[in-house]
């Protein structure tokens, strides 16, 4: 004969099971209707106008040996095809192009409709850090612009 147990776990285990599946419905809804943090201010850089938006307010994460923070960059002016290479990094100063172009960390990618970037970031974002966009065009001209980082991203 089966033995009955009346522990807390025994009483609620199937309800916990069901709750996990209800959570799936909740996460599906969140997936279909994602909420993103506010976009930052639009700034001009050479012939381009760019608006960055972080994907979330989480701390930078480790990816391929580099701390990384993901952004979407909308180009409201200028053709993305005119960019030879462009990089985004967070820190006290922009990283030099010579350093960044050795690999692909922090490189802008995507289409003319939206660019994405896994920005090179420090492990901890501090108040004196800024976000730096460096663009090189086909004529070899280099431009850099920066944004102050909102307080909700400081740790």
């Amino acid at each position: 004969m089966a033995r009955l147990s009346n522990s807390m776990w025994d009483r609620y285990k199937y309800k916990v099971n069901g709750l996990v599946l209800i959570l799936s419905c909740f996460f599906l809804y969140k997936n279909l209707f994602p909420q993103f943090p506010d976009a930052w201010s639009t700034k001009s850089i050479g012939s381009f106008e760019v608006t960055p938006m972080p994907y979330n307010l989480n701390s930078p994460y480790m990816h391929d040996g580099t701390y990384t923070k993901d952004f979407l960059l909308l180009f409201s002016q200028g053709e993305v095809a005119d960019i030879r290479q462009a990089y985004f990094n967070i820190g006290a100063a922009p990283l030099s192009l010579a350093d960044m172009q050795d690999a692909d960390a922090g490189i802008l990618h995507g289409s003319q409709h939206a660019q994405e970037v896994h920005a090179i970031a420090p492990k901890v974002i501090q108040a004196d850090h800024r976000a730096w966009l460096t663009i090189e065009n086909w004529q070899g001209k280099l431009k850099t612009v920066s944004w102050a980082i909102p307080k909700n991203l400081h740790q």
Binding site: L21, L28, K30, M62, H63, D104, H109, G110, W138
Partner: protein, 393 residues
Amino acid sequence: MAKLSNRFWFKLHGLFSLPIWIIFCFVCLTGTISVISHELTWLTNPDSRASNPQQLAEKPKSQLVDIVQNAYPTASISTVMSFESYIANTVIFTDSDKPYAIAYVNQYTGEIQEVIQGLTFKSFMRSLHAWLFFPWQNGYSIGYYLVCFMAFVMLGALVSGLMIYKKFWRSYTQPKLRIHQGKKTFLADLHRLAGVWSMWFLILMSITGLWYLAQAIMWQNDIEIEAHAPVVEVSQLPYGVADVPVRPYSLADAVNIAEQKFPNFKSTYIMLPEHFRDTYKVYGEGDGIFYDQYSYGVTVNPWTGKVESERSPEKMNALQTLSHIANPLHYGNIGGLWTKIIWFIFGALLTGMSITGFLIWGGRTVKAAKDTDNQRSIFSKVPVTHLVQQDGK
């Protein structure tokens, strides 16, 4: 070594499967549907079908890209994918009014049959099965771990089930399913019979599940199974030019390079460059039947035509091999539609086993609860003085 009792194995069997019975059943069910998700799409959506009444030859992927580009001149195409021969190719793109769009393009006629935005049935089912839609953060999803944990459940239930069911091999030669001796006997026979006949499937699902768990741990700890495709050296890009340069090597060239490199190569997954230092990524299937449809391929430098990296079963290490054979073994697409049907049947059996197992346990528990209630009601009718006298004996 002390011999473990049947009661112990029985209790262990219940411990493995019962506490998370609902999730286990759900994961089995969604996995079973996922196996035939392409075919269900084919059945329910005529636009997803690659009908070919005129027996035309399949068009190259580069031509499908041109067809979509001509139809949507402002589109930016990122990916081309192909599946079974009866399912239309998908071309993924973004456009000024479409943040993410999938075009079903008939690979024989070149007709764009439908453009959809959002989640497809196949993506929905596979995401639901693999990580229950729990969010991903920093390379891991709690849902993914939860599903992987089912591998332990399945393995534990299988081993303990076989310890309970002595001489289980008789089910192969003398299968027993008593349908006229009551519900309890029928369910027990069905559970045991399905379990023994699905043994190979349970082992396969457990092993691939354990691999997915190992893979998840590696993802979370940033351990790369396959190295990222290298980027083009910046020195290879034109410099100081007035206009946007055109890449000398096209997608068609990249596919040709892959086809020359691997015998019987069929491209199934192509990614176009996402920036000017990016490469063409051409992956596909070749001669190895146990390997997935991304096991062969090259990344091609669009400025020099050089193969920057190469992938094939012969060059894979042990982890890479596991990552490329796990999916065909888990989803049963090693031999096309027929193996998918076999996997679907055994997936349905496994889902059914989780239900019959619960019903068997439920029946016993309800009976035990009733017996306890009956005992309580008998004792409640006996005078207290009598009970004290009984105790004092």
